[in-house]
Each structure stands twice: as structure tokens, then as C-alpha cells.
Symmetry: C2
Subunit: 324 residues, 2 copies
Amino acid sequence: MMKLSMLVPFCALALAVGLPAARADAPAGTSSVTSPRPAPTMQQVLDASKPSDWRPLDPANTLYMDLPKGRVVIELAPAYAPLHDDNIRTLAHEHYWDGTAILRVQDDFVTQWGDPQAEADHPTHVKPLGAAKKTVPAEFERDIDASLPFTALPDGDVYAPQVGFSDGFPVARDPQSNRTWLTHCYGMVGAGRDNAPDSGPGTELYVVIGQAPRQLDRNIALVGRVVQGMELLSALPRGTGPLGFYEKASQRTPILRVRLASDLPAAQRMKLEVLRTDTPTFDALIESRRNRSDAWYLHKAGKIDLCNVPLPVRVTPSAGGKRK
Amino acid sequence: MMKLSMLVPFCALALAVGLPAARADAPAGTSSVTSPRPAPTMQQVLDASKPSDWRPLDPANTLYMDLPKGRVVIELAPAYAPLHDDNIRTLAHEHYWDGTAILRVQDDFVTQWGDPQAEADHPTHVKPLGAAKKTVPAEFERDIDASLPFTALPDGDVYAPQVGFSDGFPVARDPQSNRTWLTHCYGMVGAGRDNAPDSGPGTELYVVIGQAPRQLDRNIALVGRVVQGMELLSALPRGTGPLGFYEKASQRTPILRVRLASDLPAAQRMKLEVLRTDTPTFDALIESRRNRSDAWYLHKAGKIDLCNVPLPVRVTPSAGGKRK
């Protein structure tokens, strides 16, 4: 198995470590064949992390979406979309999504879910919203605030003056206008809307499943990201109707239930934590991905795109237990 | 159906057209609410294209890979990987891939196929290669040449000094070193290799199914791209073994056959053509994607990433027939 795996481009979690191969025409400064200490790989960075480098998911910001094949875990981002996330919490309290379905999977774009009945009578919501709001003001960007953490990436961005990470989420910034916004990277979750800016109250959600559609940035409210179970949304059959909608109800994947973790008894909450993005460990992770030290790499990129930085998630090591 | 589709981010082929909405804080120069003529959408650009804007696929550079659920069509890129593509043609002549399988699907990275038996005895190829070579010299980049077409994108790139399109493929360039290379965008196909640069003769191929893994650029031979049937490779269940390999043989998708179009009788060849990337029509398409004129967009990006530019493919309009 390992032998075959060598025949391939290395993945995010490849464990193989080795000295970079020599290469005569490697750009100056990127070959470390003469370096006494090769830079650590991402796995080595993670293995050396401290417990304080990790942050447990806040149950009040964590959604569990149960599909027939497993659970998708979504972390909300209330620092960037507080009103949407409030409404989404209410919708979860109301069990709004129970019995709804995945309606659309468009290749290299998004998977989207919501009330199938809305199809016939949009924009009136067919399924009762209970205490949730039918409209929510646009939260497509916000002011930069000193209280918002920001770890900048060093390599620029095609779309924005600055990009980096804020509390575990990919963000962009424009210092000139003092504005900041979440970005449409793989796995980010947003609230679909109609043409009216306030018409996406979170009833219909989508997740990015392909090349980052950054043209959507600042046009729609991103509300969080998938931290576990992404493959349950990305590997679904693509819809054959316009925009990737399924043409038959039988093609849709049913949503069994969506719950806010804090609505469940503590014993039923998953113990997950994410790597903090405001630590030297995260800086080292970024560097390990900008310049790969795996033996396979002949040319080190020396750069990284915002949406290529992995955001590690793990099961919380048991208290008092030994960690490898 | 249309009503629901309005509730979502617009897709590549959305047909709705409208005046951009007014927005007080839109960056200067991007709001066209006062413009007498809104810019055309991509669909309008395509509708206005001339027959000469399209290029038929060359049968000698076209592979058909037949899976149980349908056909994947791959266009080879011999201007960038001539030796690999020669070997791949030979492997197709030899029916090398018939009865092989999809071995690996790693979420947000690649789908990969080849000989399952190689797993046990790599790097010796288990299945006979016939007239094909076991090793092929590295073709990870090449000199820039005046004969290579190049349509530059205007918005820069995180990884390379210049990016754009060459004969329908996404490429990067470094004018200082006079080098150019194909880039790892969604749908690009490459030849997996071991650590030795010449160890990827094309027997094992992969396709990008997530955010462009541009760190692979200049490290491995890209040999072409999927022009049809991408959803047959991107929507497969993710493998649960290391690197996304399937853990059980029963999980693999069998490859029924792979044929070079020119090895088939003319009547059995598919009539497909791709939009040329060296035309004013393609320039207009890029502009339609940099600044969306659909009514849904409140903020126009004004930029586009290399891997976000669609490369349209269509069935060749029948000779003498009327086209819409």
C-alpha cells in the first residue's frame, strides 16, 4: 500500500518524511538539500503541537446535520454573520431542517439543501419557520475591529488586498475601506439568497465543493464551515437539472435532522477541537505547506493560496489520557 | 424550478440576465447601474460566438475512458508533455487500462486510476506495458516558445509571475527564466509518479477534484484535462485508507476500457469542440466572469483566478444545420 501511495502526488496528511531531493535548477533559496535541518512537515508540526494550540468547538456554534450515511459537523462564525447565525440557531431549535433534503449538487461549485416544497412557492417559505425570521439583513462584510483576530498570509491574493485567518475561518481584508469578510473556500457554508440582499435567512444553505468561487465573496452571507463529514456533501451525485438541481425528488438525499450541539445533553455532544489559527503552531503549519519538505517535492512552491491552507480538526484527546 | 434557483449563488451557466443592482458602497468603477449597456453574461458571449471561435478535439489527442456509469473524455496536451502523451497513446493502443480501476479518491484533492495489482509490487509494473515505456523523462515545465499561444489573465496569481491559457489549457509562465508549465486546476489530468522524476510513465493517472493544488505545479507531468464527464470522477465515494485509497477492492470503480479516439472508426468518434482561448470571444468570456452582470451580483469581483475561468465544450453543431 505504501509503495503505491508513493506513486502519487502527496496529500495533506502524507506521513512520509525525507530530505528534499537535489535539483540543479531549483530557484535560489528553495532547495534545502544542503540544509542541516529540513523544515518540518505538517504532520510533524501537528505532532509537536501543545494542547493549548487547539480550541474545542463551542456547542452554541456547532451544528450536527445527520444524513443517512453519516453526520456533517458545521461550525458557525457569529463574528462575521451574527444575525444569520442567530436565525440558524432558531431554525435548528425548531427542527426546521428535519425531513428536508439536499436539493442541488453542481459540480465544481456548491451542494445546497433546504425545503423541497419551497420550489413550488418561493419566496414564500412553505415549511413554517416558527420563531425564525423570514428575512435577515445582509451580512456580507463587516468593519475591521481590533477585537477580531487576524493571521495574515504572506503571499497575496488575486481577489483581495489581504487574506488570512480569523478564529479558524478564511477571511479577506481591505484596510483602505476598513472592511473584512469571510471567503468562499472549499467547505465554507453560506445562506442562499434571492436577488434581494436580505432574502437569505439561512433556511437554504450551501457548501463550496470545488475551486473557491471567490466571485461570491461580499455578495452573500457565509455563516460557517464544515469541520467534519465534508465527503458526505462533496461526493453526492451531481444534479442534472439547471444549476445542478436534482430533477426528481427520488434523487435527493434526505436530511434526517439538524441539531445545535448546545440543544443536546452534554453527553451527546461530539468532542471535537480545531487548531487555533492565532498561534506559532499555525504559523509553522502554513510554512510547512508553503515549502514542502517531503522527499517527493522537487520544486517548492514557496507560496500558498488562502484556500489551500488546511484547517485541522481532531477528536479531543481524553482528559488525563496519553496522546501519541 | 426557476424560482428556487434564484435563491442560490449563480452558476457557470445561469441564464438570468439583468441590470446590476445599485449599491452605494460599491468600489468606484465597478457599479454599472448608470451604464446604458450592461456587459454581456457568459451565456450571451457564447450565444454570439462564431463557428471559428471553436476548435474540434483532435482525435489523436482525445481519450475516451468508459466507466460503468458513462464516459470521461480527456484532451491531451502534447505541447507541454509530448513524451508522456506519446506513451499514453501507446498504452491506449495496447488497451492497458481495460480492466484496471479507480484506486483512490481523496476529498478536495485527486481521483486516481491505474493497475490495482501494482499495489503489491510497485515500482515494477505488474500488468504488461507492451510497447509502452516504463519510465518517461520529466516534463514538468518547458521553455517558452514563440509558437506557443498564450492569452494572459490580467489579475495576477499567487504562485506564478504570469498565468493564462494556451491552446485551451491553463498555464503559468516565468518570463525571467523563460519557462512555462501547465497548472493544477480542477479537471486537469496528470501522471502520478514515485520520487524519481522519470517514474511516472502515464500508467497511473489522476485528476484534480478540489481546490487547485498548485503546489504540485512543476513537480509532476500534467498531460491533459477532462473535457466531459468530470462528474463521473468527482462524485465518487472518497477512499477511507491513507491518501484516500480504497481499502477494499470492491469499493473501486472498474474501468471498462480506454481508447484513443483516432484508434476508433470515424463514425465512433464523438463530435466535440472546445472554445478557442486565443480569440476575442474568449477575452469577452473572461471579462464576463471578472465582472458579472447578472442582477444577483451586488459586488463585482473585478478579478478572476486562473482556475475559475470556465473552458466551454459543446457538441459540434451539425454541418449545414441551424444553430440556436
